[in-house]
Subunit: 193 residues, 4 copies
DNA sequence: AATGAATGAGGATTCATTCAT
DNA sequence: CATGAATGAATCCTCATTCAT
């Protein structure tokens, strides 16, 4: 997935476009206008519009993986891992709010089978990774045992998404960083033994 | 918002279309074909495509209100209220899976200002209602006090949405009813004192 | 051409609609809405939209004839006839400004052969009547003889039309009655010996 | 207003279409068919249909200005100026009869505010220029003084328009050039002292 | 008389994409 | 690499008209 700098420019512009206006506004015309080239020029860099969307999803997958890998390298317990991931996600959105509109909007990509499949598998992969961490925490005794890992994960991921969704629907007016920390503290209290 | 039977037929077909195919496939052509009339015929029942989407949202708003009102009439404590609402929503989706694709997909409606505003206010109204219940429960002593009502609501609503989202992305293969009950039990354990 | 009262109501509404908005806005929908009936209802009174336009033109033809007949009954010389007709037309427009938009707008009816033919023959008939008057005046010695009747008529009719056209394009802000009298005095000076 | 050759081709085709069939027949479909391209192709050259109409009007405005400027460069008295302009207009229509249908048909453009405003201001600008010439002639003693310049202009412009209108309604069968010269001679006799 | 529902044809415009230059 | 011009299919929507009630 080595992207040229032009390709990266395109998918960033595309992401912003989706965020600022909605997926319906992500047209080849709008996209090329934003970058400042002709519509035809885009086809030098991507074979089709779907390929651009695939690249966007691919980038998210990689971002998720990077965050998880970074977390693992810290050699900390599951609880610290979850904290790191939670807060890193929050900070990513604080820095690049436009990502929020895309990253939690699976519906956007239901359009094409290829895209819907990618979303499905990413979500699954992500979810499974969290379930794994939960289980480890439960075995290690740092995470409560009276609720199954799947439910705990649903709560954890659901809370993160809900936090972002509300912030997003209020057009980024809340202080997400602050609310994120509060939210994590609540989750911590709930998850830990 | 009294809808004629034809109007109801249209918004139901529209909802299913969004669910089965995605919002991009909700075209006047597809919609009229599904109902078995001409495109022009739709315009006798709705003034525009946006009006159809507004009617869909309106229907959801009413459904939410009905569920909340029903819950309140049961004269039960906040905890029982939340249970009723949680499980009623789950059952609604079990019965009409296609609703799930629309009801939790705010992104779908970001297209038009009028729609985006409706989604925003519905979400807010809904969330506030839950925060109110949480506060009552906290005052009555049935809901834990060490976590703020807003965070508890984020967890509650987030978990419900996450549950549905996963089920939906797996194309409704899980047993949602069963998972919903498990999920509620987990939430109950978490929320109660 | 005996019109029922409903038919008269329709062609008056149609005339106003053309005037206020332009011929493009004269749709069966707009027209029926203005009258307060269903679109289908109009077809009880006219067999088609073209028939409505024909009725409008017919009404104008009759109006022109009535004015000319009235003028003739006054048993006056050609010069007084022209004055009567000129000022009567001006006063008709002062009273019903919306007529002005239609009566001098042949282009509006170029759409359909039947209508274009009507306009053509009305214009011709009208013009010929004026040429006749001019000739009579020339023979009687009250109208100048050094310019042919056709040219004098072109000037006479052209000036009337131009007066109305300017007033119309300025959205009826000038005092047409006053300008009309001035214009007639100028024409009088020019036409008479 | 520098037009590409394709743009000029389009507005010429549009002008002819209006002339041959009427404004209602000026559809993107008809227009593109006449040029021999797809409907979509037109949108590379004009942003909308209204823009095409604006370009047509703009072209007329420029034509009028060119004629007036040419006239002024001849360094002749007002009477010669009026003659030049009158006969030049007549000859323009003799060469391009299809223009006649558009150039004196303000009604055609009442459809859209932007267009109606253009027509209004063009007409006003044109009229004022003639009033100015009349006044100059009156001061110089070559144009009669007993009738106000506005009335003389109304007669002059009205006669020109009437001449063209009749010729047009008779589907260009008369000898316009010949009738134009006669008409000018009549006007000359009327205007001069 | 009038309505409500429907239709088929056509309106302007936008879409992703292609291709010669 | 990029452009300008083009395309065919699709978009939403409006038109005049019809017909059973």
């Amino acid at each position: 997935m080595d992207l040229t700098s032009r390709q990266m420019e395109i998918i960033q512009a595309a992401t912003q476009l989706i965020s600022e206006r909605s997926i319906q506004e992500l047209t080849i015309k709008n996209l090329s206008a934003r970058i400042g080239v002709t519509e035809a020029a885009l086809y030098r860099h991507f074979r089709s519009k779907v390929d651009i969307l695939v690249a966007i999803l691919e980038q998210f997958r990689e971002h998720g993986e990077v965050v998880r890998r970074e977390a693992l390298q810290r050699n900390a317990g599951p609880m610290e891992l979850l904290e790191f991931i939670f807060l890193t996600h929050v900070r990513t959105f604080v820095e690049k709010p436009y990502l929020a509109d895309v990253v939690f909007s699976e519906e956007i990509f239901q359009n094409e089978d290829r895209l819907a499949d990618m979303v499905r598998s990413m979500m699954q992969q992500n979810f499974d990774a969290f379930v794994g961490m939960m289980r480890q925490g439960q075995q290690a005794g740092s995470i409560r045992n009276d609720i199954a890992a799947v439910e705990l994960t649903t709560i954890f991921v659901g809370a993160l998404r809900m936090l972002i969704t509300r912030w997003r629907l209020q057009r980024f007016t809340d202080n997400l960083e602050h609310d994120g920390v509060s939210m994590w503290k609540a989750l911590q209290r709930i998850l830990s033994t």
